[in-house]
Amino acid sequence: MSITFNRKTWIRLAAIVLILAFSVFLFFIGRQHTVLVDNKTITVNGTEVKALQLVEVQVNKLDALELAARDRDKFEVTGQTHEVKVVYTDSNWEEHVITRKFKIPLMQDMVMILIPALVADAQADQSVWLENYEPPTYAMTAAPAEETVITDDLAGLITEL
């Protein structure tokens, strides 16, 4: 079978390419990531950074979360580029607002924003306060019992015979 490259073939090829490009676009904009926001005392470059007493965190336009010291919560976001807004009050009762943009690697399911690190140096590179997060294996491992897969509605009848 020979393929002749006439106008129709080119239009079809262009349509296929367009659909593939659209699929890639959908993949990028629809990919869901979990952004954990963590307010715990941490050590950055050998220096201990204390957790904040109370901080308000908002990612994009999602509902803001209030975190006390040692709290951790999460946001579900889609796409790669996002904005985090941190509002906190210092010891002089002065309110500070930090807004930073960050980018999540495409195939990364979970990232964690270290709030104390971000507050300590608001201009620092995102690698300082944003880290990839892999859930602990025990949380991801399913129950050891093997799940019975029922592929036939009549299977129950057969075993009862």
């Binding site: 959908l26 993949f27 799940e147 897969v149």
Partner: protein
């Protein structure tokens, strides 16, 4: 020359032509008061069922136009849609982009399966329905082979939430939380407190408009000609086999999309069973709407969804209130689903014979007048 009919004969003929919808109306008329459900509840449930099922049922119309009967092979498209959903769940693509991506993934699979199914149905002309029904079972085996043994082992699946503990194969149920009601909730208005998912209705309307437009196109007219008489269509230069294959491909692709719309509404994928039930229920709903093996339109789709699913909603509670057992209602609705298909098929044959008789009588009367 038309035979003169009395009013009683006309009423009887109307009833004979609409036996199944009338039967369902009677069942619902008894069932609704017995169930004790409020009109508000029933209306909201019916709206949910319409948005959930209509797309799938509309996908059955085109093969009927081409004279291929009820396409039980729509389960092939449903399988393709499910494969698309498994992939987007694994990749973590959510919302409308997830749905669209699942549709794009399902399309080539549906086209391939539809083409293959159409080829086989061309070899089994006159027995398309039973052939497509059995093809569904056969293809289910291959689907199970791919999903139960191929995915995770040959086809990479990353998510532990999808893969069975043994390391390969997809779990019995897949949580579609990422796309759950993403289309339904895209644009919703409340009418008397009942949410109306406008975006889904718009999508269904678009499909209905497509079907209406398609019937007027050259290909649509070819399908109609093939459906009426294959030999005459062939003599007129229509590529009969090719046209029949295209009708099955279109139906399979739409069935795949319909399955995605259906499952986004439900929010859970029953990996090994969802697609098998859907073919039977869609066909039954269309027949309840007054369609036949040879003739169906959009009115039949919506009437069918409303009547068939109204019975589905009221029968368990009606059974419980009547006998004290909800199980009775469950038996009843399963019995009615299969029963209605049988009745419709029998009635179709009876009607065909009756119409042939009437045509004979008309011809005889015409010849008598001429003589």
């Amino acid at each position: 020359m038309k035979l003169q009919m009395t009013n009683t004969q006309k009423v009887l003929r109307f009833m004979a032509n609409n036996t199944v919808p009338i039967l369902f109306l009677v069942i619902c008329a008894f069932g609704i008061p017995l169930s004790g459900y409020s009109a508000n509840y029933l209306f909201s449930e019916i709206i949910i069922r319409i948005v959930r099922n209509s797309f799938l049922i509309v996908s059955l119309l085109i093969p009927i136009l081409a004279g291929m009967g009820l396409n039980f092979g729509m389960t092939l498209g449903a399988m393709a849609g499910q494969i698309g959903l498994i992939f987007i769940s694994d990749w973590g693509i959510v919302g409308i982009p997830g749905m669209l991506l699942a549709m794009i993934i399902s399309t080539p699979i549906s086209i391939l399966l539809g083409w293959w199914c159409g080829k086989i149905l061309n070899m089994a002309k006159g027995r398309e329905m039973v052939t497509s029904y059995i093809i569904g079972f056969f293809m289910n085996g291959i689907y199970q082979l791919i999903v139960l043994y191929g995915m995770g082992a040959v086809i990479p699946i990353r998510s532990n939430a999808l893969v069975l503990p043994r390391g390969y194969g997809i779990r019995n149920t897949v949580n579609l939380i990422g796309i759950r009601k993403s289309l339904d909730n895209l644009l919703t208005i409340r009418l008397f407190g009942i949410p109306i998912p406008l975006a889904t209705f718009a999508l269904i309307t678009l499909l209905c408009l497509f079907v209406l437009w398609f019937k007027k196109t050259k290909l649509g007219q070819d399908m109609r000609a093939v459906g009426q008489d294959m030999e005459v269509a062939r003599a007129a230069g229509i590529r009969v086999e090719h046209t029949r294959i295209i009708s099955i491909i279109i139906s399979t692709v739409f069935a795949g999309y319909g399955m995605i719309v259906y499952l986004q509404n439900i929010g859970t994928l029953n990996t090994y069973n969802s697609h098998m039930q859907i073919g039977m229920f869609s066909v039954a709903a269309l027949l309840v709407g007054g369609a036949t093996v040879a003739k169906a339109n959009i009115r039949n789709v919506f009437l069918g969804v409303i009547l068939f699913h109204l019975m589905f909603i009221v029968s368990p509670m009606a059974g419980k209130n009547l006998i004290g057992q909800a199980q009775l209602g469950e038996y009843f609705r399963v019995f009615v689903s299969y029963g209605v298909i049988t009745i419709s098929l029998v009635l179709y044959e009876v009607r065909k014979k009756r119409d042939e008789n009437i045509a004979g009588l008309e011809l005889a009367a015409e010849q008598e007048v001429k003589a």
